[in-house]
């Protein structure tokens, strides 16, 4: 059993504990009934996704300053996990919205900015896939990673003059009863751990990918010259 298998096993176990708490320990919401149980994972996934994108921002700035390969790999790993978690947030949010608001989607500030966030980092992943791997691709991606992080709060604040339907932060405003708060905090901790494990595994994959020379280099047997721009 490698270190990574143990980490994955721990993360899966923790998520199962969180799931058990959500379904068996947390009290049923008086108004929203059963669908309210989506809340725990929905908000946790959103927070974990933001944490991932914050890592992308930090790693991108570090890459532009130092050109450290490790920072670039970390950015790549965190961006992928962040996009996955944002997808989870959006899908769970839609499932939550249908019974409570009566619609899967509404053009609210929070929803719109989360969707824009998803699009920006999906574009980031696409850029990584389409650009020739190397220094230039890493630089371009770092610029996109930084601009993407700057753009999202702007989208959020610039659409707040539209009437917002999404509830505000319930955790810091002390609106949750203690049992719900406990379940939420446990779920959030478990989700953050899961995200960290996924980033670590992805980082390892990126490291191994970087170490394998590309087929062209293997054929030529030498470092490939950077292609002239066409």
């Amino acid at each position: 059993m490698t270190r990574y298998t143990r980490l994955v096993a721990a993360a899966v176990l923790l998520m199962l504990v969180a799931g058990a708490l959500i379904f068996f320990y947390a009290p049923e919401d008086f108004l929203q009934k059963e669908p309210q149980r989506i809340f725990y994972l929905h908000v946790s996934a959103a927070i974990a996704a933001f944490a991932c994108f914050a890592v992308v921002l930090g790693a991108s700035i570090a890459y532009l300053r130092t050109e450290s390969l490790r920072a670039d790999r970390l950015a790549r790993a965190a961006a992928l996990v962040g996009v996955v978690l944002t997808t989870v947030t959006l899908v769970m949010g839609m499932l939550y919205a249908k019974p409570i608001w009566g619609t899967f989607w509404t053009w609210d500030a929070r929803l719109t900015s989360t969707l824009v966030l998803w699009i920006i980092y999906a574009g980031y992943l696409l850029l990584r896939r389409l650009a020739e791997p190397g220094r230039q691709a890493a630089r371009f991606a770092a610029v996109v990673g930084i601009f993407g992080f700057v753009d999202v709060p702007i989208v959020y604040f610039s659409v707040t003059w539209w009437r917002t339907q999404h509830p505000g932060p319930v955790i810091i405003s002390d609106a949750l009863p203690p049992q719900m708060l406990f379940v939420f905090l446990v779920t959030m901790a478990c989700t953050l751990f899961l995200a960290a494990v996924m980033v670590a595994i992805r980082y390892q994959i990126e490291t191994l990918t970087d170490e394998v020379p590309s087929p062209v280099v293997q054929l030529v047997g030498a470092q490939r010259e950077p292609e002239p721009a066409r």
Partner: protein
């Protein structure tokens, strides 16, 4: 500083001279935006009742896609002749070269707006006033900065035609949110024009500063 301005001016003048001599882009863009209006007419069944509601959306859709074409072309000629590398070999700073390219591309887009805005007012019967023109021009500044940055980036990447809209459009959304609001108010909807334009100016400042900082990393090789 004055050196950078001279470089930016020279690069912008070069691009505009080449456009003036070939007249490649602006006539095509002008035709494109008029076509967009024709398509909107068939898509929406424009009449005197719904025109003012639909017109701002049509304006931004046409403008955004014309912008993508204009900024995508900004680095196409440089790429085809590999002249960007030659420019970067000179002691001129990357930010100044980038500023020149962005100014030229913005002026070409403004030339296209000079067709779009009167055509929209004429064919949709919407008001054509200074507020409308000012909002669109102010939004163009920041959009040009962002658009040129990503155009410079994707010029060296495969599938650039696909990637440019994917990277640029989400980052333009703040301009479309505030610009959309400003244009709606200029066309007679209720709301605060000043607030929207103030936001546009904030975004302009933010993104012009950010892109000039990032230009070095995108252009240098």
């Amino acid at each position: 500083m004055t050196r950078s301005i001279a470089v930016a001016y020279a690069v912008a003048r070069k691009d505009l001279t080449s456009e003036w001599r070939t007249r490649e882009l602006v006539p095509a863009l002008g035709q494109f935006v008029v076509l967009a209006l024709v398509i909107a007419n068939f898509g929406f069944q424009i009449d005197s009742q719904n025109a003012t509601v639909i017109a701002p959306g049509v304006l931004w859709l046409a403008l955004v896609f014309a912008g993508l074409v204009a900024f995508g072309r900004a680095f196409a000629a440089e790429r085809e002749q590999a002249s960007l590398e030659a420019m970067l070999l000179t002691p001129a700073s990357a930010a100044a070269i980038f500023a020149g390219k962005a100014i030229a591309a913005a002026l070409l887009l403004i030339a296209c707006e000079a067709v779009l805005l009167p055509a929209l007012a004429l064919m949709f019967g919407t008001p054509f006033n200074a507020e409308l023109v000012a909002a669109v021009l102010i939004a163009t500044v920041g959009m040009a900065a962002l658009g040129c940055l990503f155009a410079a980036m994707v010029a060296r990447v495969r599938s650039r035609e696909v990637l440019l809209p994917l990277l640029t459009l989400p980052l333009w959304i703040p301009f479309i949110v505030a610009g959309g609001q400003a244009v709606q108010v200029a066309m007679g909807a209720s709301g605060s024009y000043n607030q929207a334009v103030a936001l546009l100016i904030d975004f302009d400042i933010l993104f012009v500063v950010l892109t000039s900082l990032a230009a070095r990393f995108v252009l240098d090789d």
